[in-house]
Point group: C2
Chain length 423, copies 2
């Protein structure tokens, strides 16, 4: 296909998605849940066919020079398919967000005015690597009444095509328009360009992938984008911190799963807790963490004999996604707040303290999506927040901030019942 | 200034706004209200100086070939300045949106998790023509804890500069950072380009102006934009409509102020209400409205002797902002819904009916920001909704849809109080 043909294809997909979205917006919960249950069954029943399609991607992986962890994430097994199907059943069991009354307003003229949750319309999801995202995103969009346009990466092309086929057959079998979920059937970069220009029919773009994919999307999209950048999170140990709690939360935040966005990258210690620092540094070192220290932290740790690396300013802005931590010392909570607001990424930051006033200063002052008092940053997650499911963690401030569940895939409308009121 | 110097200037303005926004986020309500009260007084006291600066713009208006209505909107009088000051006092009297608890969540691990309203940070406002927007937007942003960067049009340059000077002097006198409100001191187009690239420091752009200004903003911005496009609104007269109510609401929606976005542009009549159409058409004609009719409407109106114009398909997509209306006839409510969803702009649409089932079908099915049952579309407005104030009416679906008040200028953060919880 040449670029004109791809543009035409994408325009047609977007127009069909928009028509389907108007049907989805008023679909009863029972129909949506019937589809989800049927899809879960169908995925398990088709495990063999999914694994066959997946084998084509795995064959191609070598030519694409994918790293071992990427191949691992790409691989389907019967167990992984069963887990994916279980995820679909869980979405079916969640309450339907559509139609809920968000607020009853009090207009001066006295007519009945309510703010009601409704689907956005058409959501474009742009993702890389893991093919289970195809199913995860399709079902979250559908449950929230949205049509979805999926644009997966070339490394998972055959797996994605097979999953999309199963989804669409199940939609048709349940009496829902097949156009409710569409996968763009080409990985040509031009298709992404074309999708990002469909601002008359597509209402929101969610890129799920690395920073360069998100940057490309933001720079080329006419459609609003909800960004999911990664996290530079800090743990701040206040003067009044309980020593055991400080160690336990710090080690959990840094080490339990260092590769994720809500893991800690920076440790900030109040000078009044200076005597705690050697203990914390030893615990980090014992857990395999490399210590990068500024001059103040270094002075306090020299006697410990622990291996230390000098931290640069750049280190405190860096998401390592690895067993490395940057350490600094501050004079007070105000300085910690300032440190985080100028170096962190506004994702998740924690204070450990027994001092309520210091906690309040931190929680108010730190301009991040999630702020913690005496708990690990690792809880920033849709399931841990009780949202039931998660399409991602927004690092944006408009529309959705932090974990995004079904409610965050919706917008609202104002509904007015009058008695003939005129202005 | 060359383009590099302008870029440097705008980057500096944005960085200073970001720093000021962190201060504003925790500013007590009393300080913000003290500033607003002082500003209202100051505007009245400086009326003479404002009118002097305004005179320079009015002198230049001729060279810019401004139309008479544009010159009218540009002109300051002591009365208009007093009204502007009164608007500032009203904003002072509104509740502070910052810090309100939006929701208490129920996370599985049981820690205390609340969603709290907080300012967005830095908001860029791009506007044309009326200089009072400088004051309106600055005070709404400030009350909601946001720093603002204002970019007015060249036709109001001197007025805007004077107003910004008064605002900044009043900020300084109240002990708030002057950088909380900054006007870009050049109307060079390059400054707008530069502003739209400051996505590290500016969090939201609100363009207030014509369609071409909004399009330019969307196509060039890396910062999320909340669009304020205009409205193609419909009034649908159902079979079960009360005749007097139908006429009263239709005339109000079309004629009370035809130049605004919530005025009706399309009239849709159920075939079961066909006998009502001549009466409605006559009332419109008597109010000076030109009637543009499709074939079905024409057939029903031929006998009336009223002057009729043939409507094109384009007419039903057009915002006239004038005393013109397009008229069609439909078989049922489902067709009316379909007509609106494919031709309207998703702004405000009304059904007039005594039939609750038909009303429910319309209110659910029409995919617009505001849907009315038995009331005029003219109520789509922040004040009429009881929001107290309005920065505009969003035609977007993300973040804010419909009238935007102080709450809609805010985002939220999640605040967690734990007892040492780890994952």
């Amino acid at each position: 296909m040449d670029s004109d043909q791809i543009t035409e294809l994408v325009e047609d997909i977007a127009a069909r998605a928009r028509r389907a979205s108007l049907e989805l917006a008023t679909l009863p919960s029972e129909t949506k849940n019937k589809f989800l249950a049927a899809l879960a069954d169908r995925l398990v029943a088709e495990s063999g066919a999914i694994i066959e399609a997946n084998a084509l991607d795995l064959e191609a992986a070598e030519a694409l020079e994918l790293s071992a962890p990427m191949v691992e994430r790409l691989t389907f097994t019967p167990e992984r398919i069963a887990a994916m199907a279980e995820g679909v059943r869980q979405v079916a069991s969640l309450p339907d967000p559509v139609g809920a009354e968000i607020e009853k307003l009090d207009p001066p003229k006295g007519f009945d005015l309510r703010k009601i949750r409704v689907p956005m319309g058409v959501i474009g999801i742009i993702y890389e690597s893991r093919p289970n995202v195809t199913v995860d995103c399709a079902v979250l969009c559908l449950k929230s009444g949205n049509a979805s346009i999926l644009r997966g990466g070339k490394e998972a092309f055959h797996s994605n095509m097979k999953l999309a086929e199963i989804i669409r057959e199940t939609l048709a079998a349940t009496g829902i328009s097949e156009d409710a979920v569409q996968l763009i059937p080409t990985t040509d970069r031009w298709a992404l360009n074309a999708l990002l220009k469909q601002d008359k029919t597509v209402h929101c773009i969610i890129p799920r992938g690395g920073e360069s994919l998100i940057r490309f999307t933001v720079e080329n999209s006419r459609i609003p984008v909800i960004k999911h950048y990664t996290g530079v999170c800090s743990v701040y140990i206040d003067a009044a911190a309980d020593a055991d709690m400080a160690e336990s939360i710090l080690i959990n935040a840094k080490c339990q799963r260092p590769s994720v966005c809500n893991a800690a990258e920076n440790l900030i210690v109040h000078q009044g807790a200076a005597e705690l620092l050697p203990r914390l540094a030893k615990a980090l070192h014992d857990n395999g963490v490399e210590l990068r220290v500024d001059a103040k932290a270094k002075a306090l740790l020299l006697a410990s004999g622990l291996p230390l690396t000098d931290a640069t300013e750049e280190d405190f802005h860096t998401e390592y996604n690895d067993l490395i931590i940057s350490i600094t010392v501050v004079a007070d909570t105000a300085e910690a707040v300032q440190f985080i607001n100028t170096r962190g990424s506004g994702h998740s930051d924690a204070i450990i303290t027994g001092d309520a006033e210091s906690a309040a200063r931190f929680l108010n002052g730190v301009d991040s999506a999630t702020v913690y008092h005496n708990a690990s940053t690792r809880f920033t997650d849709g399931f841990e927040f009780g949202l039931g499911a998660e399409i991602g963690i927004s690092t944006d401030r408009l529309h959705a901030r932090g974990p995004m569940g079904l409610n965050e895939l919706c917008t609202y409308k104002y509904v007015i019942h009058g008695k003939g009121e005129i202005k």
